[in-house]
Symmetry: C2
Subunit: 423 residues, 2 copies
């Protein structure tokens, strides 16, 4: 279970209430018209889980593997990393996941040296099937590991992409196993599609429960039982000018990759030109407590009042590691922490910082996981996606497009062509 609490004390007026109903209506319409497809993933992807598990049980290379290498950028990778980060500690026997997400030669070399081909399944994930960096890294993987796609290594490579994309045609040509992402699901909304479910299921994660948690959240929202999401969205959207930033302050390293996913979702969905031609958007920030409270708290408290702060915390870490009652000579002050569990310490710190900030009338809200579990991981993904859709509608922008991505890619290709001529 996850509980959501807004501390701003904000009560919407008539105008905001209208904005809320309108935005909820639009999200319902997005679902019904299939403009956005992510709402159906929690249910639709259950079939993928069944399929993947059956395939994995029958595939020798998968059975013999201990590593899942995911070659994918942005939406093809961050959501999977977010879920792995929240759950990894519960799966000591899961296959190791290695993410090729940046064409940085130093880290690529490091990752290559960590991989033995015979023990690895390579997933190439690209919605468009043409992403420049993904293709470059895929070629390097083929070259480095001397992958024979026609024969020996065919079962070692799985493609995840849009139906009919160039990558899809490529996979068909070689007879590679392929899973497709629905056309109306954009990369950053695709975590619960094959893009995230296939790698997580292959690695051994309980993706059924993950989807279950997500499905329940979708149902509750459309039944009108999660009104707090629209309320928060309305606050964010109407205070866009005074609070242009939202800081997601996760009190556990388990949220480290989640922060990165959230930043992508928020930045690419909400940084847009609105229907009146105005630049609009909210800037996402991600920090980790307690460590970052030693810096960002100073800026929040005494810097400009331009941020809302969302705390994300875990009630029960299911880890009873205690701060031992070691009494340190000459360090009597340090005894105050003795006897607490680390979970209690981090919880107390989070509450204290949240109280300090709220007292200053900085808008905060708190998201509390009862524990880090699969259902909660699924729920929180959908929660942030719904929140994003609602804010997008309230800002009168197209949440699902990314008009800059394609021209950027085109210009990069242009430069590559010029570079080629010089070479």
């Amino acid at each position: 279970m996850i509980t959501y609490e807004m501390k701003s004390g904000w009560i919407p007026g008539d105008e905001e209430n209208e904005l809320i109903s309108e935005a909820i209506g639009k999200v319902i319409e997005e679902r019904e018209s299939a403009k956005a497809g992510y709402f159906n993933l929690p249910d639709d992807s259950k079939m993928i889980v069944t399929e993947v598990n059956a395939y994995a049980a029958s595939s020798k290379p998968i059975k013999n593997s201990d590593t899942i290498a995911v070659i994918g950028v942005g939406g093809a990778s961050l959501g999977t990393q977010a879920i792995e980060g929240m759950l990894r500690h519960k799966y000591p026997n899961a296959k190791r996941m290695i993410f090729f997400e940046n064409p940085d030669p130093i880290r690529l070399s490091e990752k290559f040296s960590m991989i033995r081909k015979e023990k690895t399944i390579f997933l190439i994930v690209s919605k468009s099937g043409t992403t420049i960096e993904t293709m470059a890294m895929f070629k390097a993987v083929i070259g480095h590991f001397d992958l024979d796609l026609k024969n020996d290594d065919r079962e070692r490579v799985i493609a995840i992409t849009d139906d009919g994309s160039p990558l899809c045609r490529f996979a068909d040509h070689f007879g590679l196993k392929t899973y497709t992402i629905p056309r109306n699901v954009k990369g950053r909304f695709s975590t619960l599609s094959a893009a995230g479910i296939v790698p997580l299921a292959l690695a051994g994660y309980d993706t059924c429960s993950l989807l279950q948690g997500a499905s329940k959240m979708v149902r509750r929202f459309f039944e009108g039982n999660e009104e707090h999401i629209a309320l928060k969205a309305a606050f964010m959207a109407t205070h866009n000018g005074s609070y242009p930033m939202n800081l997601l302050f996760g009190y556990s390293n388990a949220f480290f990759s989640f922060n990165r996913w959230y930043k992508q979702l928020w930045a690419e969905s909400l940084g847009k030109i609105d229907r009146c031609g105005n630049r609009t958007g909210l800037t996402p920030m991600g920090q980790i407590g307690t460590v970052d409270q030693h810096s960002i708290l100073q800026l929040i408290m005494q810097g400009p009042r331009d941020k809302t702060v969302t705390f994300m915390k875990v009630k029960d870490f299911e880890n009873d590691m205690k701060i031992p009652k070691v009494s340190l000579e000459m360090l009597p002050g340090s005894n105050i922490v003795s006897g607490f569990t680390f979970g209690e310490l981090i919880d107390i710190e989070c509450d204290t910082v949240c109280e300090m900030i709220s007292k200053e009338e900085i808008p905060t809200d708190t998201i509390t996981f009862d524990y880090l579990g699969e259902e909660n991981a699924g729920e929180i993904i959908v929660y942030f996606q719904l929140l994003t859709s609602l804010i997008g509608n309230m800002l009168y922008i197209d949440t699902y497009e990314q008009p800059i991505d394609e021209p950027a890619e085109r210009q990069i290709i242009e430069k590559l062509k010029q570079g080629k001529e010089i070479k």
Copy 2:
């Protein structure tokens, strides 16, 4: 060598020129009056290197170790991580560094399981010598590894702290090796003090060259040969209202931890109440290219014009990994990247994105490393510290204080006391 280029085309007027001379004057004064001590670290810490190397050569536990565990939070850890991140790939034989920086029970358990006491040197780093989380983690380390500080394990533990701090007295009591941080050097400015130099030297990094690079930058700045730093500072300070955020966009995973260090330096130094009683500050953001350009670029280009963007890139990755000329059937578009090195690809992408942003008249500047080397790593640390000092003076704030840290700690202790009573 690092080159610095501002692309805003901004020319300071008389008023800004006055602000610049005044701020440079104040930084000179800060150095002369010893208000801030970090300017002298590059020279003063050379002695520490000599000392550490001699000690390491004579200490059996150090000679037998393969792991350096650093127990420290914020300024006691982030700078060391930043440098390790930029240089690690050059040191395949360096000792492994493990950072205990967050009292998160899940990650603590993971890290404990990675460590063998017989092979590890534990550094406890706390300037005040009382940091709650550091002390809690230190106690857990003592308990978990059953450290006998009176006898067998005394040489395994090294303290780095202020002279005369409670931790210093503790270390003296047990006869632990201790290195001190100068009183007038704050945590976030202490990377080149014992706080960073001792762990890096013990791990095997060439800290002499690191300090050398830093020292040259300090000398050049005070000789008046790095005027671009003050120019950039003036732009940031005078455009504080229109551009409240600076995004550091590092085009290499080697800058991942550097981003975290920069965010701490910037947030805690520049988020302050100024001499007129106004909240002021600049909000730091850190992203990694190329991966994050698939999201943040959308926000930068079409969202509100509230960010300056600093690109940080590497000219020569000293890694000739090429994208092989594998021709992929049905994926003809992907052939454009073939034959480039990954270094060239990432470079072309960075330049394209920078051009796209500059064309929109969003202020950008570019920091180009000729390669990732020790001298450059030292220089870039000092560069950002000097930039921070200059901006701080231009905003009329006290760059070096952190007035929120202590009250926060006090309130946490208060809560811990209440918690103890309930227990």
